[in-house]
């Protein structure tokens, strides 16, 4: 049950890296639309973004649980880089035999309503449709997409935006969420390949949701840390507000929700090794559902404890809470995933509910 030494070392070194290179200035600058290139370079140098790839593809055969733990650390620092997206792009591309890059990548579609169609064109392909709200698409050196081909899902890897029309957008944390529209864009044969076993739009959506759950657990830890420290520093009525029971009770709830979020995200992460894919999705759905619930409650309390200062741009709490409010909805919000949890449990039936929670 103990955390592995390798994991601990990785997380410590990631923490140091973000402490040194992911200051509030970096996060603020990124919100104006300037990509945090130097931060990205530092992170890329550790090899973490592509670590899950096999060694033959330039990776380190790392455990996904370690990568999600690294995402949790990055999120504590509100790192304005597409780390989760690059990990997932690398996974989808390399597994399907497509090339990856060291640069920042994006991956999609991230929204279930998007439609991308790939048609044969001589020995190459033509791509049409739109991938909406792609994280950091304008900054990505490579875009990895899953499209519907004539014989099933196809993985696509294109340089940059690969001839698509780019429409910029952002979430409420001012993280880029861009739309790529493909109007019969011509792709060469080696830019597309049938998806490998285990890679699919559904699997991408699940892993995306899980990545957001892991990141939210980190952002919640940060929000809690800020709230607990602030309450001990801020003096009103002649004593730190942390001495007031009303504030203590609120912080206790915040701590409980944060602990639950971390535990729920871990449930989903452990499920990645579950051979039963429906059960795996059930546990990932539990993770996104519970973490989303925690985020809603925790943001409210973290702000309440901070009073007016937490509502300013100058103070760092908003870096965490605006991300939480954004990530809560990305790759499906908690109501959507809760419906999936409930639907699966009901399909399995009442008699199976307890075994479902204990035996898999």
């Amino acid at each position: 049950m103990a955390i592995r030494d390798e994991t601990r070392m990785l997380l410590e070194s990631m923490t140091r890296l973000f402490e040194d290179h992911c200051t509030k200035q970096v996060a603020d600058a990124a919100e104006t639309g300037v990509f945090a290139q130097s931060l990205w370079d530092q992170v890329a140098e550790t090899g973490v973004p592509l670590a899950a790839l096999p060694e033959s593809a330039g990776g380190a055969d790392a455990e996904w649980s370690d990568l999600f733990a690294a995402l949790r650390v990055a999120a504590r620092f509100a790192a304005p880089i597409p780390l989760a997206e690059t990990m997932l792009a690398g996974w989808a591309a390399a597994a399907s035999g497509l090339e990856t890059t060291d640069g920042p990548m994006t991956v999609g579609p991230v929204r279930s309503a998007d439609k991308l169609t790939l048609e044969r064109d001589g020995n190459g392909w033509r791509l049409s449709g739109a991938a909406t709200r792609l994280p950091y698409a304008a900054h990505a050196t490579r875009t990895v997409l899953i499209a519907d081909g004539p014989d099933g899902e196809m993985a696509i890897a294109i340089d940059g935006q690969g001839g698509a029309t780019l429409t910029k957008g952002k979430n409420i944390a001012n993280e880029p969420r861009d739309t790529l529209t493909f109007a019969n864009v011509r792709l060469s044969a080696d830019q597309a390949a049938p998806v490998a076993k285990g890679v699919s739009r559904r699997a991408l959506y699940q892993r995306g949701a899980l990545a957001r759950a892991a990141m939210m657990s980190g952002a919640l830890e940060k929000a809690m840390d800020l709230a607990v420290n602030y309450a001990q520093e801020r003096v009103q009525f002649g004593r730190p507000i942390s001495k007031f029971q009303a504030v203590q009770q609120n912080l206790a709830v915040l701590a409980g929700q944060t602990a639950a979020a971390v535990a729920a995200a871990n449930l989903g992460i452990e499920a990645l090794s579950d051979p039963d894919l429906d059960h795996q999705e059930f546990l990932i759905a539990i993770a996104k559902t519970r973490v989303g619930e925690a985020a809603t409650l925790a943001c409210e309390i973290a702000h309440q404890v901070h009073g007016a200062i937490g509502f300013t741009k100058e103070y760092a709490l908003q870096l965490s809470t605006r991300r939480l409010w954004s990530w809560r909805e990305e790759f499906g919000g908690d109501p959507e995933w809760a419906a999936r949890v409930g639907a699966y449990a009901c399909r399995r039936g009442a008699g199976d509910l307890w075994p479902l929670l204990t035996d898999g």
């Binding site: 049950m1 103990a2 955390i3 504590r76 830890e221 940060k222 809690m224 840390d225 607990v228 420290n229 309450a231 001990q232 942390s242 001495k243 029971q245 203590q248 009770q249 912080l251 206790a252 709830v253 701590a255 409980g256 944060t258 602990a259 639950a260 971390v262 535990a263 729920a264 871990n266 449930l267 452990e270 546990l283 759905a285 539990i286 559902t289 519970r290 619930e293 908690d334 109501p335 959507e336 995933w337 809760a338 419906a339 999936r340 949890v341 409930g342 639907a343 449990a345 009901c346 399909r347 039936g349 009442a350 509910l353 307890w354 929670l357 204990t358 035996d359």
Partner: protein, 382 residues
């Protein structure tokens, strides 16, 4: 990070737990006729049967009638029993807190006398903490013990004592000096005794709860004599001991599993293809439950490592009681019915029972406010 965070490491149940789970489920099937819903039934015969299986005092040393099994195995037995609605009340207090406290603070003679009997399901304990004027503020206990020849003489009143009218012993918390008011040490003089409930001078009267049931009692102690060898631990060490006892009480999974049957009934009523709103409402509860269970198993892992997960237990109990109180609230929105306790329809009686029981969840074993105070202390705020 600077803020202390609570530790809930992911834990995988060891393989022996899997085999045991099958065995427990088979045993439950054999005893189906005594299973119920959230009633806390008292059934000595069932407790003896559990004792025979070796499922009481599972983690205790064999020399005291225990079975030296892991905290995980104990966890499996308890969660399966709770979910089935097994009648655990006769041995549960002894297994969960009195036994462990005896193991920690008892004399050799006490351990040899009490523990094998508890483990056999033959000796029932109840708790002796709350009083008419001392509920959450346990340090304000007024029950008083004075030293007399060969033992102690005790006077006072205990209240809210579940099952005192059918238990054999209570671990009585009282004061030998001090009135709980003087600072800095409000805990001075606190002492615990192993009280034989058949002793002369004890008068046990029922306190009927709002469901019309008799679980609570008021215990009047008038010049009750307790011999020297039934002092538990040391005179004046009672606060330390009772804190340990409470942490055993709070780390149990019974804080979020007693209404499981009702959740299951809702899944049955929703059918295999529910509408989205119903699925989402049930899914939210299931996600809460799965998370609570993983946190609770993690606590079992900490107990197995010999750690003291006090703060973590308070977190799980606080979240767990909130979840259990939400179950009847969600139920009445999804499947409205007029509650009736004795209704033939199972669900209608469940919603009646759970609605009336719900207030209790965040009071017993430490109120929500007390638990959040413990969590706040764990965060370094107090």
């Amino acid at each position: 990070m600077a803020t202390p965070t609570f530790r809930f490491d992911p834990v995988e149940m060891p393989p022996e737990a899997k085999e045991l789970r099958k065995e427990v489920r088979a045993f439950i099937k054999e005893h189906e006729h005594v299973m119920g819903f959230s009633r806390g039934e008292y059934n000595r015969e069932f407790s003896r049967a559990m004792g025979k299986k070796g499922w009481i005092g599972m983690t205790w040393p064999k020399q005291y009638g225990g079975h030296e099994r892991t905290s995980f195995e104990r966890y499996v037995v308890i969660e399966e029993m709770l979910v089935a609605g097994a009648p655990l009340s006769a041995h549960y207090t002894g297994d969960r807190q009195s036994g462990p406290n005896l193991l920690r603070f008892g004399t050799e003679e006490q351990k040899n006398f009490f523990l094998p009997r508890i483990a056999a399901g033959e000796l029932a304990f109840c708790i002796g903490m709350s009083e008419p004027n001392s509920g959450s503020d346990l340090a304000g206990t007024r029950t008083r013990a004075v030293k007399v020849d060969g033992g102690y003489k005790i006077n006072g009143t205990k209240l809210w004592t579940s099952n005192a009218h059918r238990a054999d012993y209570a671990i009585l918390f009282c004061k030998m000096s001090g009135d709980g008011k003087e600072e800095p040490d409000r805990h001075a003089g606190a002492t615990q005794f192993l009280l034989d409930l058949k002793s002369p001078g004890i008068d046990i009267r029922p306190v009927i709860n709002l469901l019309g049931e008799h679980h609570f009692n008021e215990i009047f102690l008038t010049d009750v004599f307790v011999p020297d060898n039934r002092l538990l631990g040391k005179e004046g060490n009672g606060w330390n001991q009772v804190t340990s006892e409470l942490s055993f009480e709070r780390s149990a999974p019974d804080r979020f599993l007693v209404l499981f049957q009702m959740l299951r009934e809702m899944v049955r009523m929703a059918g295999p293809d529910p509408d989205r709103a119903t699925a989402a409402a049930l899914g939210k509860l299931i996600a809460q439950l799965a998370t609570l269970r993983s946190m609770s198993v993690s606590i079992a892992g900490m107990l197995q490592e010999g750690l003291n997960p006090n703060n973590e237990a308070a977190v799980v109990k606080d979240l767990g009681t909130r979840y259990e109180q939400d179950i009847p609230v969600v139920a009445r929105q999804l499947f409205p019915t007029e509650p009736e306790l004795e209704a033939i329809d199972l669900y209608t009686s469940m919603i009646a029972r759970s609605t009336m029981n719900a207030p209790r969840f965040s009071i017993q074993g430490g109120t929500r406010e007390i638990l959040r105070g413990i969590i706040a202390r764990g965060l370094g705020l107090r």
